[in-house]
Symmetry: C2
Subunit: 432 residues, 2 copies
Amino acid sequence: MALSTQPYKGARDFYPEDKRLQKYMFAKWRQVAERFGYEEYDAPILEPLDIYLAKTGDEIVNEQTYAFEDRGGRKVVIRPEMTPTVSRMVAARRQELGYPLRWYSIPNLWRYERPQRGRLREHWQLNVDIFGVKDTSAELEMIILVDAIFRSFGAKSDMYEIRLNDRVLVDYLLADYLGLNEKSRQTVSKLIDRMPKMSRSVFISKVDESLTAKQREAGVTEKLLALLDAKKLQDLPAEAQKQPSAQELKTVLDQLKAAGIKTARFDGTLMRGFDYYTGVVFEVFDTNPENNRSLLGGGRYDGLVGLFGVAPVPTVGFGWGDVTLANFLETHRLLPALQPETDVYVALIGDVSHQATPIVADLRQGGLNVAVGAAGKKIGDQLKNADKKGIERVLIIGETELKNGMFTVKNLKTGQETKVAAAKLAKAIKEA
Amino acid sequence: MALSTQPYKGARDFYPEDKRLQKYMFAKWRQVAERFGYEEYDAPILEPLDIYLAKTGDEIVNEQTYAFEDRGGRKVVIRPEMTPTVSRMVAARRQELGYPLRWYSIPNLWRYERPQRGRLREHWQLNVDIFGVKDTSAELEMIILVDAIFRSFGAKSDMYEIRLNDRVLVDYLLADYLGLNEKSRQTVSKLIDRMPKMSRSVFISKVDESLTAKQREAGVTEKLLALLDAKKLQDLPAEAQKQPSAQELKTVLDQLKAAGIKTARFDGTLMRGFDYYTGVVFEVFDTNPENNRSLLGGGRYDGLVGLFGVAPVPTVGFGWGDVTLANFLETHRLLPALQPETDVYVALIGDVSHQATPIVADLRQGGLNVAVGAAGKKIGDQLKNADKKGIERVLIIGETELKNGMFTVKNLKTGQETKVAAAKLAKAIKEA
């Protein structure tokens, strides 16, 4: 029986036109990250299972990872996210590295989940992290960088909205203001995180379930809903606004405005799924109703490096997936028309590949990317092949051309043809 | 207990200095492949187990893969090589694609083996393949491309040797010339492939074991050794030299010489481990005795695409690992001194990060990669941090500088300092 030509479910083959788009996106990511002084790192796609157990979140580790035992009996995972890995790497050289440390990476990540729009089993993710900065200048830089990436793709500020919250503020609101015990807080946090995926009435009944009768009677559910409906910090109760975490968040929001970023706002419903966040969290949403989803997210996680047996390092970082980025660019018609890398296609008439070799070598030496047609194929088929690949310029080499030392350069798009001497070929092709 | 900071055994963390070297190597690979008209593709790291069972070779599939069952009961493998994958992708679009089709990729591959010099569990590999060319112009192009890559890294032609053989010629020699049956041929082929890993006497006794008493008495082992010792086609028996496969090999060797490649020669011991090769095979060896190993290999495999239920497509390709390339460059002192991507480090004196923000934004707008020091850190510590990262140029911003509108640009290598007005900063930094 013939083998299937399909890729593994939920993962993508990248044909050259797909790869070209991916390279375009990665190049922008790299360019902006490096503009901000970030250095690229990488790590193996397999990691010991241990490093995810502590802080990643139960659902992801237990239900969504590609975990297995290697032939030596070690429990390993195809990384579902990069944050534990980068924390491990920083911990390994805790003393030698200089801070602030700015690192980025574009790893591929795997999650076992039902494939759907914006969510695949394999995706790539830009990870940007700054280590060693306690104050909110780290959050500020990170969000300015995110905004710069959007602009590098040609996005306007009304196409996305940056939402911020703070884990410490959430803890204050749930524990002190609403009086929930630890177990209820955990349940309610997870419910808030999954809020967009359920109806308001389901959400309310699930919150009610997690409360004591006394709390329900005291109107805790209604108070919670009011908190979650807050669109700005000033909508929160006065005592919450006085919390240092709220003040900090206000500082970040004010500084973002001063830096010209107008699309950032407080969002009390923002939780982020990972257990490791310790301060400000942020997420960016597409404002287009057709693609109304979270595009990327991040926050402060000061505790992860310390899990590896060294002194903790304050850290802020985010992750931005290639699938959500591509959907965003598509929705807003920001995808550019990408050209093939090949500059010229050499069509051969008859068995002249031997004589064509030094001419082709010269063109390559001159910096041109040259694909050669197959000797013996009809000229029409060779032109068709060039056109199929999107290569605009063709150089025709046959015995007549070799004898006369004059060659035809043709632009397949305009149909224009020029006769050119061998010595002037590179120049003529560049201009065709 | 603290988590371990070590990466998974046999795999590498890439700290920025390591990643920079990898990016340098990948960029050269990409540049030369694109010079020859090849387009980049990619595919998921997980593949169905099936596609390796047919032709990859028993040892690799059964003992050396990372194979496991996913949560849905599918047997999957972290790809150990790229050839079955690219064949699958071509088969999936057999009719739509234009030929000759030139594709390349730089996938990471996994093999479960004991880590050693030049062999790790995870490595990256340049894969270059040309589809749809029956004649040896494909082999010729492929080897010229390999040679061009070596030269792009600054290698001289005496640093490596290109060796060629042909699977059809090997079959002729083993079956017709030596009279081995199919089983003996398989055993002897595998022995020849592993020849460099055993002593000559062990090799001889193992060959003897695979022969009949009659064959041993007829001197088949001695005849085989004479074939394997051949350093050029002319050393083979006259009847072998007349075989079409030998003629073809001669053509390729002659054309390589005509194209200026002098380091290519016939090697009867060259087998290549994979079962899928159907014609010319080649391998490149380091000539330095300290690193006397195979650097890359490839050949013609006309049957793989057809396993996916479509008409076969003649194919020639090779794979070149990043670990062997790095070892080669190191051995021959061809590793360049790579600079960090960050152009300038901004050191802040006092709490001036707010006022520094627009200046930094301007520099980035002007195309400079800028890292900012942490406000509140001592200036000496900030300069040390810049130096640690290998960033040569520092811009100092403090309250005095902001008041006077004159800033200090310092070159940490030369120690030279210049006072510059805000408007001229970008230019001064580029020149510093």
